[in-house]
Subunit: 213 residues, 2 copies
Amino acid sequence: MSTLTAQEQVLREVRNQIASGVLKAGQQVKQDTLATELGVSRVPLREALKVLEGEGQVVYHPHRGYFVADLSVSDLVEVYRIRALLEEEALTVAIPMMTDEDVDFIEEMSNDVRIASVSGDVSAITAANRRFHFAMFECSNMPRLVRIIRTLWDSTDAYRSVYMSSTINLEHMNDEHAQMVAALRQRDVETSIRLQATHRENSVMAVSKVISR
Amino acid sequence: MSTLTAQEQVLREVRNQIASGVLKAGQQVKQDTLATELGVSRVPLREALKVLEGEGQVVYHPHRGYFVADLSVSDLVEVYRIRALLEEEALTVAIPMMTDEDVDFIEEMSNDVRIASVSGDVSAITAANRRFHFAMFECSNMPRLVRIIRTLWDSTDAYRSVYMSSTINLEHMNDEHAQMVAALRQRDVETSIRLQATHRENSVMAVSKVISR
DNA sequence: AAAGAACCAATTGGATACAATCGGGGAATG
DNA sequence: CATTCCCCGATTGTATCCAATTGGTTCTTT
């Protein structure tokens, strides 16, 4: 059984707090306060904050501390534009390389998403959704590319969960996933990319409504 | 005058050590040893390593430590492929938005590169070269995009300096820069992108020869 | 009263000390 | 001889403590 290090737990927790708005945009992260609150010392917290800095979730000013970055709508659009470029590349490379077993696996993942959808557990759905999409990306054998895409997902994870809490959105999502798997079966790069694109569009629209409150 | 924090100094130093091969690929970074060597404690070193982890320069295994990532030729090709996608996007957005002052500024930067080239100071050349290219990218007003591109540059900075130590390469480079500025003057997106692409090709070829030793 | 200097509280930056974990080497076992 | 188990040293992970920096406040000066 793997015991998670404090920095890993803290990283997840702080991500959630930023996502859920407990830590508000622009606000300074008071290390001592937050560390105490999380039941750890400042050292692992600081390491977690460095990771978040690398992801652009917080900005760091030496001797002044870490501040929660605010994700404006234009930031969001930018993130999704970059995702579009990189995910298109990933799929273009990945699909021709996929074995039948790969596609089977991806289909399993999509079934997991559907199962999670029924349960209504939002964090389970988002996790399963990630596994589905990254199962595709991973087939590209471009680890650095996948890494960057993952970072981009991380930086908007919080907001995406909003999208996932609507039943009607979930239905659409599962339909799109099914269509995608069908396209993969035929190694139809063009259709897959188009589906992935509309998938993103839907999500960015939903999320930007949430942000611009 | 600004006093650099230890983590910032350490970050630069460790980057150089990875780049120059003092820290070899695959090797574990022994924190205590390295920290002592750099005259600091392990805390700032660990924070620097977290940044490098985010850049993919080192990989982290909990309870086992940080290991220098090895940059294979295929990694290099991947990095340059991603750069191609993102830099093309940056220029496509940036060029139509450029004011005459922006182009003037970029031209100045290209002159700086030429001046540095004469001096033969490799680190000065690479720094000036970066300023030139990022002066263009920055005009896109896409901070996250520029950030990612910068990270990609960081992860191959070390190797690029090899390219910069050859006089003949430097001549080519300065020629290409001049052509690029000319294309920018006319807001010729297509030509600029093509030039930027050949620029990258030249560099990736030179660097992969170095790596595959 | 406005401008500047000098202090001070709050907060971060870093060093040291201690706890937890891992991998390897050797003993025990088949 | 191969294999498993256990222990221990090396190394990392975290807590605590102290130093350094910052921004704001107050006091002084003109």
